[in-house]
């Protein structure tokens, strides 16, 4: 077999030969081809990811483990991670999405944490296209079909539409779990002489080399790669969750690893390498569901709902008992040994023998050439004077609210169980989702967000905005961002301009993370998101998690009350660059505003004080659609109107529809106005008007009833 058939590059093949001191056999070549694929090895991005800050007071576990963990205080941790499942979802939307949800839940489980909530990031093509509709329907059903059955609520997410996702939709799944800090399961704790155990489903031919499939562009050829798609069984996963948590509670396991990309080989070699042990695996002992499987197929199968356990032999019997209770297959199929040698035995022969540390860790990095796109400045050329003021403001606002990326997502999120486990304080459809922690005062706040359009116009500034937006959302809700997880969804890094965009996005995100002291604790990278029709927009997606000390320090959105005074805090000169307003008119142009760390940090501190001092009834950070969209959403959710006059020289469309920079809309009860003004003294803050009546009216612009707004927002 040629190394190129296994997907290896020449330098990689030479490295393997050099380390082994011999020719790798076919099984070894195939294993290394998948393990050194982009998806598993991060060979294109490892150096970039180092730019992210990943330390902080609250960080218990940073990148490199199954998920990151932050300290919630009093011995409890929150484990969370987001992961993409884009390629599978493009080919088999239901199963691709379902197994994406299942995979991220197992990542959380692998740390010993109970998964308590999910969020999903969905990026679809043009809403009117039949292909988008069928993909979107399959993906949404897949997310719900798996999450609902497995009993993990889907409490929030992000859905956006752009033609660049026509052929290559994105499905990013986020999961968070809770774990007592002294019960964290590590992948670094295996010792020689322990049993290697496979718990869960039988191993079949499904999903073989899925990781390699995810590491090339989509084409007509590989859309036929259905064997690369995994099939999900949420029932099996539910049993797996309960069984693993029971085993961990009884302290029966030394180490645990989920079997995701590259299945057995990836999970077992990772434990071996991180723990500094070798392994001997007997593939004849693995329960199979297909006949005549080759050892490389067994090694690389991505059959779902399986976990790898490392068990001290004295507990093996008890592990089997728990597995039997939950009616799960459980097979000891190997042992840990001294040294670094990772050996697969099959039918009495040595099928593969590799150094454990070679498999996952030593792939030669690829320094892709980077080039600033020549047309970047051209995208920024944009004269606001060429944009006429709306002729009919009412119509303009209504069509903005009907824009699928901004419109109500109720039809999607009502298909997800958002309440099971009884922790959901604020569920989907709000800027920030909140979970209570049973038996404690503190709440977990979280949000999943992205702004691909600003990233495409100016990747550095867009990257910073991608991080700043959720941090502002959380602060307004009363939560200080404690950490984030990211999915970097980008096209091929082999095009120098595309690599430059990736690089700049990461730099911008890293700058904002540093300024906010919000470390990146986990994440993944999905490259090659392109089809013959073109590349996706650069789409870094971030899941940000914060902590609210108690419900008294939380501020809700969409809770205006009659007579409240409305305030806009933040600069009055936002930008229309990459704004939803221009996008809904088909214009992607302009240069987004730069990231001002000092102003952003100032905003966060004041917003947190506003929430904890109960200085407002309702608050919403401005994002897509700007002030106008925020006014409309607050009004619709509160079921009450407002009268507003704007005595500011800024062009009204810029003030109302512009985006970027740290701004928020607050509804303040009359009695709290003096306090509110003190809290925002020294930060731009203007009084907009009063809450009341059935109409949302902005003097000199729009005037619509709440029901007119609602009807358009909900039904398009």
């Amino acid at each position: 077999m040629e190394y190129t058939q296994a997907g290896l590059r020449e330098t990689e093949y030479e490295e393997i030969r050099r380390v082994l001191g011999r020719e790798p056999n076919e099984c070894e070549l195939r294993i290394m081809g998948v393990m050194w694929s982009e998806h598993c090895s991060y060979k294109s991005t490892k150096n970039l990811l180092k730019l992210f800050p990943n330390n902080g007071d609250r960080v218990v576990l940073g990148p490199g483990e199954n998920a990151g963990i932050i300290d919630l205080g009093d011995g409890l941790g929150a484990a969370f991670k987001a992961e993409s499942h884009n390629h599978p979802s493009a080919v088999a939307p239901y199963q691709g999405a379902a197994t994406g949800v299942g995979g991220i839940i197992r990542d959380i489980l692998a740390l010993g944490a109970r998964p308590v909530a999910s969020m999903d990031g969905l990026f679809f093509g043009e809403p009117s296209s039949p292909r988008t509709q069928s993909l979107a329907s399959g993906i949404v059903h897949g997310v719900g079909g798996y999450g609902n059955a497995v009993g993990v609520p889907t409490v929030g997410g992000k859905t956006a539409y752009d033609p660049s996702y026509n052929e290559n939709p994105l499905l990013n799944a986020f999961c968070i779990g809770l774990i007592p800090l002294d019960e964290i399961v590590s992948s670094r704790t295996a010792r020689p002489g322990q049993a290697v155990v496979l718990l869960g489903s039988k191993t079949g031919r499904d999903g073989i080399a899925g990781a390699a499939f995810a590491s090339v562009e989509l084409s007509e050829d590989n859309k036929a790669s259905r064997p690369s798609i995994q099939i999900g069984d949420p029932f099996g996963e539910k049993l797996l969750i309960e069984a693993c948590l029971e085993m961990n509670e009884k302290k029966l396991i030394v180490s645990m690893q989920d079997m995701g990309a590259a299945g057995i080989i990836s999970s077992s070699s990772e434990v071996a390498a991180k723990s500094g042990v070798g392994m001997i695996l007997h593939f004849d002992k693995i329960p199979l569901r297909a006949e005549n499987m080759e050892p490389w197929e067994i090694a690389l199968s991505e059959s779902q709902e399986r976990m790898l356990l490392i068990v001290d032999r004295s507990y093996l019997h008890e592990v089997m008992e728990v597995a039997e209770k939950w009616e799960l297959d459980c097979a000891e199929f190997g042992e840990t040994v001294e040294g670094d040698e990772y050996t697969i035995l099959f039918h009495g022969e040595r099928a593969a023998s590799l150094p454990a540390t070679l498999i996952g860790d030593r792939c030669p990095l690829i320094p892709w050439p980077s080039r600033r796109p020549a047309d970047l400045e051209k995208k920024w050329e944009f004269d606001v004077d060429d944009i006429p003021l709306p002729e009919d403001w009412n119509e303009t606002l209504l069509s903005l609210l009907a824009d699928p990326s901004l419109a109500s997502k109720k039809r999607i999120y009502e298909q997800y169980d958002s309440m099971v486990q009884l922790n959901t304080v604020i569920g989907p459809g709000h800027p920030v989702s909140m979970l209570r922690i049973k038996g404690r005062d503190s709440l977990i706040a979280m949000t999943l967000d992205a702004d691909p359009w600003k990233c495409s116009l100016d990747p550095f500034r867009g990257g910073a905005e991608t991080v700043a937006r959720p941090v502002r959302d959380l602060a307004v809700a009363g939560a200080r961002a404690a950490g984030l997880t990211d999915c970097l969804n980008f096209p091929s890094p082999e095009v120098p301009e595309q690599y430059w965009v990736l690089e700049e996005c990461v730099k911008g995100m890293a700058e904002a993370c540093g300024a906010f002291d919000c470390p990146v604790v986990s994440g993944n990278v999905s490259l090659y998101n392109e089809s013959p029709d073109g590349a996706i927009l650069p789409t870094p997606v971030v899941g940000t998690v914060g902590i609210i000390p108690s419900i008294d320090a939380a501020l809700s959105a969409g809770t205006w009350e009659e007579g409240d005074v409305l305030f806009l805090v933040g600069p009055c000169n936002p930008s229309l660059a990459g704004s939803r307003y221009l996008l809904s008119q088909g214009k992607l142009a302009g240069r987004p505003l730069p990231f001002y760390p000092e102003a952003e940090k100032d905003f966060v501190e004041r917003a947190l004080k506003t929430a904890s001092a109960k200085a407002a009834h309702s608050g919403r950070a401005l994002s897509g659609g700007g002030l106008a969209a925020a006014l409309a959403k607050e009004s619709m959710e509160s079921g009450i109107g407002a009268s507003i006059s704007l005595s500011i020289p800024t062009r009204k469309d810029i003030l109302l529809f512009g985006e970027g920079c740290a701004r928020a809309l607050y509804a303040v009860p009359m009695s709290r106005v003096p306090l509110f003004k003190v809290l925002w003294n020294g930060y731009p803050c203007i009084q907009l008007g009063r809450v009341g009546g059935e109409r949302l009216s902005v003097e000199g612009a729009f005037s619509l009833t709440v029901s007119e707004l609602l009807s358009k927002w909900r039904n398009g």
């Binding site: 059903h141 719900g144 079909g145 609902n148 059955a149 497995v150 009993g151 069984d233 949420p234 029932f235 099996g236 539910k238 049993l239 209770k325 939950w326 009616e327 009502e414 298909q415 997800y416 169980d417 958002s418 309440m419 099971v420 486990q421 009884l422 922790n423 959901t424 304080v425 209570r436 049973k438 419900i551």
Partner: protein
């Protein structure tokens, strides 16, 4: 009142319902694994919780209805013991023929999860004694197969004997089609057997048992059960 919550593989509201009963009433609640063949001896109240028992890969609830514990559960019901099935538990009760009718896929064919208004139709059951007739309460729904149906004559018989306990309505208690989330016959959300000791409902009272997470209407439901039990000693 000692409560037993039956746990099937794939149940996912078992912990929730235990939390809600214990939190609302402070009474003893135990989980009972489906492979048991007897209930704990002092069991007064049995709950079949929501979820996806056995993955619901066959008809919802069909596998669970044949679990070992179900003989003892049916016996408990036949003796007049309090028995409640919520969501998947309701499906298990109809599959066990402990309640009439069947639950089919929602008419939209989509799973639906949201808060829902219900009109209390009967307060003469031990589950609703503290509500007032016609009262509108809010319990969330979360199901893919909640369309309640049964043959026309049986439906009429059910209505005539006052077996409908909860009906989907709007906030004013009107039970029009627009207030029907799944296409159920006559907006039926919950029914009781003739003897009145077995209730099945699709909405989740356990998700409305705390102000912070979904409201408190469910507490009245649990309190009704406790009060009826204390008075009647069922």
């Amino acid at each position: 009142m000692n409560t037993a919550v039956i746990v099937f593989p794939g149940s996912n509201c078992d912990q929730d319902v235990m939390h809600a009963v214990a939190g609302s009433l402070g009474t003893k609640v135990r989980a009972v694994w489906h492979k048991e063949t007897t209930l704990p001896e002092d069991t007064d109240f049995v709950i079949l919780p929501g979820g996806f028992s056995f993955g619901d890969y066959l008809r919802c609830g069909a596998m669970a209805a044949r679990s070992p514990i179900m003989k003892a559960v049916a016996e408990h019901g036949r003796r007049g013991g309090l028995l409640l099935g919520i969501c998947n538990g309701f499906q298990i009760l109809t599959e066990s023929r402990l309640l009439p009718g069947a639950l089919l896929p929602n008419r939209t064919l989509n799973f639906v999860c949201r808060p829902c208004f219900l009109r209390v139709e009967s307060v003469s059951t031990p589950f609703t004694s503290l509500f007032s007739k016609g009262q509108v309460v809010q319990f969330p729904i979360a199901h893919g197969d909640g369309l309640y149906t049964l043959p026309e004559e049986e439906l009429k018989a059910l209505e005539d004997r006052g077996g409908v306990v909860f009906r989907y309505s709007d906030s004013d208690g009107l039970t029009g089609d627009n207030a029907n989330p799944n296409g159920s016959a006559n907006n039926i959300a919950g029914i009781v057997n003739e003897r009145g000791n077995i209730l099945g409902l699709m909405p989740h009272p356990e998700r409305a048992s705390e102000a912070l997470t979904g409201g408190e209407d469910g507490r009245v439901f649990w309190q009704s059960i406790l009060e009826s039990f204390t008075k009647g000693g069922r």
